[in-house]
Symmetry: none
Subunit: 242 residues, 2 copies
DNA sequence: GTCGGTGACTTGTAAGTACAAGTCATTGAC
DNA sequence: GTCAATGACTTGTACTTACAAGTCACCGAC
């Protein structure tokens, strides 16, 4: 699956950083040492370092060895459409387990977020997301009935929900994310394997189509030691570090 | 200012895309053509393309020419609002109370984030932010000594830190925000008036100048029942590769 | 001891070469 | 006419060499 040399180098360094083998504040081996260790030339080594730098794991500059800045890989915000893509970017193995899918009447808060009548039906999913086999995030998604119906008959443990939706022509154009922190409730605690009351990062999201009509409402809860959310905003222009 | 070859190539291509000279959906010249045009080898040309790809301007894949996906880079700086602006938007009265300002040696993780030596001095502030008189957020900010010194003599309960910094010519060009959740420690609990261990939304931020040199490091903790962070992203259909 | 310079080490940039792998239009067989 | 194979073109990956530029520790002059 991951055959490229720079991919393996990046994955291995990511593993060392995540495992604490190389701690925050410490410096990486020099490029020359990495070349020797992986029997590679500087090109793939530098490609790997460029990827880690883009992920915010390492920093540094000319003449200095690269420093470890953070141990938890950041999730680039632009790829909010796909948890799977984010995982592959950071070299982790994504997994998912659908806990529940239901057609029901939503509670009033959700109905309001989707701009629906109180008696409208919605499709709701409860899905656990895994990284390297460990629970990382719990999704509670709600779709309007028209949009969500096809999901009831799809094989959701295998494919992505977004693939099903885009396949049938649903366009997801804009999203509004709200972040806060909550204490894990009983369901969260059991599925994410944390204690009841332990802090979770919550992302609530309303996704709309290009006309601004709400399509999806989601309540995602992240284990903060496994996944974080990162937003980068830039006013200037970046320079390449390859 | 911009001396590197790949920087020149990237800037020129960015200009053509932004000006519409190469429209969205059209394809860029091949790498070979760009090499000839700029009298460069493939290395800097590919570095330039990698930067544009990272900015979301272009996409494509092996065997195909790069396609223009978008005319403007993602995430304008303005989409992130300051605490004060957010407060005014929601009609609440913002307040602040400086708890502490100090010149000290940072702990290693912070030093690494600011790319400083372990024995460098920094200016650290601990500031409580209020909404309608109630504790809402606790900021722990760290500045490099050169940048932060003027803060020691400024009246920080009245004016904004940002104002002091821009006044003295510090340019803040880009920021990287990472969100997760933490349990309140003793200090958090006392100042934010919550129980120890209750969940808080944490935003860690590194702000850099236009050269990419880190200026500010911040650890902000929000009471989730009083303040949340919202991000809107309106990116079109970007189903392309990374 | 302090200061400043030297030199080894490290990363940044860029040239060139080679081959692998994917795309696409043309071509030729059926 | 349709379909599959071919081959030109293009990007992906990787190795090599070379030099520029920044960092840092050591060492000698003072």
């Amino acid at each position: 699956m991951k055959e490229s040399l720079h991919g393996t180098v990046a994955a291995e360094l990511r593993r060392r950083i995540r495992s604490g083998e190389i701690g925050v504040g410490e410096s990486l081996p020099s490029e020359a040492e990495l070349c020797e260790e992986f029997s590679a030339s500087r090109t793939p080594v530098r490609q790997a370092l460029a990827v880690l730098r883009e992920e915010g794991l390492i920093g540094g500059g000319q003449g200095r060895r690269s420093l470890v800045l953070d141990a938890v890989p950041a999730q680039p915000f632009e790829s909010f459409l796909s948890f799977t893509m984010r995982a592959e970017l950071t070299g982790q193995v994504p997994g998912q387990r659908l806990q529940e899918i239901a057609l029901r009447r939503p509670d009033p808060a959700v109905a309001a977020a989707l701009e629906l009548d109180a008696d409208a039906m919605v499709v709701q999913l409860l899905r656990l997301r895994l990284l390297d086999g460990r629970p990382a995030m719990l999704e509670r998604m709600t779709y309007t009935e028209a949009v969500g119906r096809p999901l009831l008959s799809a094989d959701l443990d295998a494919g992505s929900i977004y693939a099903v939706l885009t396949e049938q022509g649903t366009d997801l154009a804009a999203a509004r994310h709200t972040f806060d922190a909550v204490a894990a409730d009983a369901t969260d605690a059991e599925l994410l394997e944390v204690g009841v009351g332990s802090p979770l990062l919550r992302e609530r999201r309303v996704t709309t189509d290009s006309q601004g009509v709400p399509i999806e409402w989601s309540d995602d809860r992240y284990r903060p030691d496994v996944a974080t959310v990162t937003v980068t905003n830039t006013r200037g222009t970046r320079t390449a570090r390859l």
